[in-house]
Amino acid sequence: MEESDADALALARAGDSEGFRVLVERHSRALFRLAYRMTGNEHDAEDVVQEAFLRAYRRLHQYDERARFSSWLHRIAANCAYDLLRVRRRRDEDPWPEGPDAAAAEFPSTEPAPDRLVLSAEVKQRLSVAMSRMSAQEKAAFVLRHFEGMSIAEIGEALELEASATKQSVLRAVRKVRQVLAPAMGLAQ
């Protein structure tokens, strides 16, 4: 655990709100970045940050000091964001049709764009579509693996999923990303 976190945490655990305030002020921005990437909008991300700190406060006695405090906090935030995603989209079936042709059919053009900016914009647009078609579980697992660099074991712990389910979620998400990006980037699968 970071030394400075240890001091603040000791205070917080002793019931001193000043200690918890230090932790909140120190970790809020990182938690917002994680929450924003998972939820995709500022308002939801703000709510996730609040809920994550509230849960962390209530579970301070459960924190194991062998782990980094920031990692523990991130797992709680990821779980909050996942809960929110599940509420936002109760969709159990896989809505994304298999095959690159189906993905490409969503877009007006599959020709490689000459301008890199146009290509970048198209990639963003396609990725946005891929993310919107992911289930809550896939999206959460992908964001945590790809952007946050968490291991599959850590993601499983954060989202309370079995390792095999976590791994499959990441893989399904990557398949969807590749399906939509391949035509724009000239990457045949």
Binding site: L127, R145, L171
Partner: protein
């Protein structure tokens, strides 16, 4: 990829390899070393994933943490929000139990084995000490009951902190109930018995309560009027402490 360097890995295997999560990394690397097609496929995986934009979320500003705290702090103070455990919690919790045990033991020993000569160190003094201890015990019990009664019934509630408090109070409660019954305080003993049932339920129940369970527990506490009775006995005890010098008075409920 399953233990055969000659077999082509699947796209999923290559994705896991890219993320450093492949189960049989060495075997896969051995295959990639000799297979141009799989190296090309791995290249496509890497290009696609590298293209995933890593746009930074909107910056919240340097004072963001302070704003989060401003919004969060009132929620930490609401009744029902579990308080963090203090590092000296064990000592804080064991102290009442140890005190209860020693008081009850001293009280009972004093009753059964009076000092030679029959000095008046016994009755009134011991009773007064016991009253103070029971009064403190009832106040701590009130805190636990209030936290449960004031919890947000719409949310899943983590009651692990209250549960531990209930477990600790339970040990002391049994000793005080025994002492109250033996010293001719049936009113106190009866309330402690009712309190004990609630404490047992909290201590042995789940550490997380869903909305329905929270409401059910709340209804049971309210229907039995336990909190009210604990308050009444607590205030009568305080009153008796003030009147202790003027002579004994039993508590009736």
């Amino acid at each position: 990829m399953t233990g055969d360097a000659g077999r082509h890995p699947s796209a999923d295997d290559l994705v896991l390899y890219h993320y450093g999560e492949a189960d049989d990394r060495e075997l896969l690397e051995a295959h990639l070393g000799g297979c141009a097609a799989c190296r090309a496929e791995l290249g496509r995986v890497r290009v696609a994933l590298a293209a995933v934009p890593s746009d930074e979320p909107p910056d919240r500003g340097a004072d963001y943490g302070a704003r989060v705290w401003e919004r969060l702090q009132p929620r930490l103070d609401v009744p029902g929000a579990a308080r963090p455990r203090r590092p000296f919690a064990l000592r804080r919790v064991l102290l009442p139990v140890a005190l209860a045990a020693s008081l009850v033991l001293a009280f009972l020993l004093g009753r059964h084995y009076p000092r030679p000569g029959g000095e008046a160190t016994s009755g009134p003094v011991r009773e007064r000490i016991l009253l103070v201890a029971v009064g403190d015990h009832l106040e701590r019990s009130q805190v636990v009951l209030l936290e449960l009664l004031n919890a947000d019934p719409k949310a899943t509630l983590d009651v692990s902190a209250e549960q531990r408090s209930a477990e600790d109070l339970l040990s002391a409660n049994r000793l005080y109930r025994l002492a109250a019954a033996r010293t001719g305080e049936p009113g106190v003993a009866r309330v402690l018995e009712e309190l004990e049932r609630v404490l047992v339920e909290v201590a042995n129940g789940p550490s997380e309560l869903g909305p329905e369970e929270t409401l059910a527990l709340r209804r049971r506490i309210e229907s039995q009027g336990v909190l009210f009775k604990v308050r009444v006995v607590g205030s009568q005890i305080r009153e008796r402490q003030r009147e202790a010098a003027q002579g004994p008075r039993k508590i009736e409920l």
